[in-house]
């Protein structure tokens, strides 16, 4: 069964990606490929992506058929979606175990959700 691990990052997280101090930058970047490799080696990796800063997001809404384009992410929350992994594991506890191994940082949170299986598709 496929699960998405959604990674919610803080403003500090997003800032660390381009921190002028190479040590800070390195601290952010180093952990991710190691984790992704672990997923691959365990044979559970399905996909994933890191997302750029929320400021780069553009939100599209339709009101009365009118297209409204707005600068910024959909939800204005303290933590923002910073990336996700999709993994294929047998059950929730296994998914949670993998989510617990995602690189951590203060304030960073993880949401685990089963992926939707379209009607008629083999689960």
């Amino acid at each position: 069964m496929n699960y998405s691990i959604l990674i919610y990052e803080t403003a500090a997280d997003f800032a660390a990606r381009t921190d002028p101090d190479p040590k800070q930058r390195e601290a952010y970047w180093a952990a991710w490929p190691v984790y992704a490799n672990a997923l691959r080696e365990a044979g559970v990796f399905v996909g994933g992506a890191g997302l750029q800063r929320p400021e780069t997001a553009t939100t599209l809404r339709f009101r009365d058929g009118q297209r409204l384009v707005q600068d910024g992410p959909y939800a204005d929350t303290k933590e923002q979606l910073g990336g996700f992994f999709i993994i294929d594991v047998p059950d929730l506890d296994t998914a949670l175990a993998w989510a617990a191994r995602v690189p951590r940082a203060p304030g960073r949170s993880f949401e685990v959700r089963p992926n939707l299986v379209p009607p008629g598709a083999a689960p």
Partner: protein, 408 residues
């Protein structure tokens, strides 16, 4: 009532949880398994009176439930793939039923699914009562003081979450066991408390809930015979249960623990509680429920010695506050100190509890009132009694507190 009807009811009492655990563990869909099993029992009510009770009632029920599950899966074409899997899995069940004497008991898995941290804490106890013991939503709702419709909704949401989030029907491994076991123990104790809060048995909807919690406690021990906290919980419940009939006098008035007639305590239940407390101690790992049971054990010794060792109780409460710093433990500690030393010591301890935590906690105000009265602070004692009475749900306890207040 016909004998066939009695046979169905007996099968429901004895086999519901075991049949459901078996079906749900294999289909991973609790709600569908429950519906199928309920249909199977309904079919039994129709068929057994006419054709007689089958030789293996559980096998009959399982076959009927299996048919419903397969029909259901075929009907909802989206899950057509599930049909061969269902057939294979339930064939296995069929064989087991036909060859073994007793149906395998997999209710422990079900208990741990209900106690999964991904399930909202408030719904874990109701879920266990429903799926493991087969209580209906209305009965659980009234025991937990919730609207039946709201309870039904919460329960179906929880079952959908178990199915959709893919929670495994497994006993967790040793790393995850402690957290999940705590939730199981808490839920069983909460079920016992709901029954215990109605000591007079005045509320028929709560009748039997304490007994069912005791059943769950015994069940848990059959699987985890070496788990000290499971022994501790059962010992605690048994000690409380031993005093059930002494908590009210002949007129139905509330009798505080210290004034209870110890000849009305059940020696059999006390002995059973002590055996479990001893069993827990052998593991050499202390825990919250063992400490609570030990406190009740000291109280129980009054039946033999005629006195209560308050120093021991205060010491055990101090330990309990370290393990589980609940308001209840802190209030208990203060009350024990007041008895072991003096009212001033108890009052000082009581004052240390944050005010926000006790605003709606009736036992705090009852203990505070009692200690203030002993300290001759009459006006404050009256005010505290008024608050305790205002927070009281039990009419007998309210009458007792009112009488205490008048005596100040």
């Amino acid at each position: 009532m016909t004998s066939a009807r009695r046979a169905v009811e007996q099968a429901a009492r004895e086999s519901w949880g075991r049949l459901l655990a078996f079906l749900a563990a294999r289909t991973r869909d609790l709600a569908a398994a429950e519906d199928a099993l309920a249909d199977a029992y309904a079919a039994a009510l129709e068929t057994w009176p006419q054709r007689g009770v089958p030789e293996k009632p559980e096998a009959w029920l399982l076959t009927a439930a299996r048919r419903r599950l397969i029909d259901g899966a075929r009907h909802a074409r989206v899950q057509a793939d599930a049909v061969p899997a269902l057939l294979a899995l339930t064939n296995e069940a069929q064989e087991m039923v036909l060859t073994e004497d007793r149906f395998p008991d997999e209710r422990l898995r079900l208990l741990f699914v209900c106690a999964h941290p991904a399930i909202a804490a408030a719904v874990r106890t109701p879920l266990m009562l429903q799926v493991v013991l087969g209580l209906d939503a209305a009965r659980i709702a009234s025991a937990m003081l919730v609207q039946p419709a709201a309870m039904g909704q919460r329960l179906s949401r929880a079952k959908a979450k178990i199915r959709d989030a893919g929670i495994a029907f497994e006993v967790p491994d040793t790393a995850a066991l402690p957290e999940r076991l705590d939730a199981v123990l808490e839920a069983i104790y909460a079920a016992y408390g709901s029954g215990w809060d109605d000591p007079a048995g005045a509320d028929p909807r709560r009748d039997g809930l304490a007994a069912e919690a005791l059943d769950l406690g015994r069940l848990l021990l059959r699987w985890l015979p070496a788990e000290p906290e499971a022994h501790g919980l059962l010992a605690l419940m048994l000690h409380c249960e031993a005093r059930r009939s002494a908590r009210r006098n002949a007129a139905g008035a509330y009798v505080p623990l210290q004034e209870q007639d110890t000849t009305r305590w059940s020696r059999g239940l006390i002995a059973e509680a002590e055996r479990h407390l001893g069993g827990a101690a052998r593991a050499g790992v202390m825990g919250r429920f063992q400490l609570e049971a030990a406190i009740q054990s000291v109280h129980a010794q009054r039946a033999v010695s005629g006195r209560t060792d308050w120093e021991a109780i205060a010491l055990l409460y101090a330990g309990l506050v370290r393990f589980a710093p609940t308001v209840g433990a802190q209030v208990g500690h203060a009350a024990a100190l007041a008895e072991a030393r003096d009212a001033a010591a108890g009052w000082a301890q009581l004052q240390a509890i944050p005010a926000a935590a006790v605003a709606g906690y009736q036992p705090y105000w009852a203990v505070a009132a009692h200690l203030l009265a002993r300290l001759a602070r009459r006006a404050e004692a009256q005010a505290a009694y008024a608050r305790a009475i205002g927070l009281c749900e039990d009419p007998a306890l309210r009458a007792f507190l009112a009488a205490q207040a008048r005596a100040v």
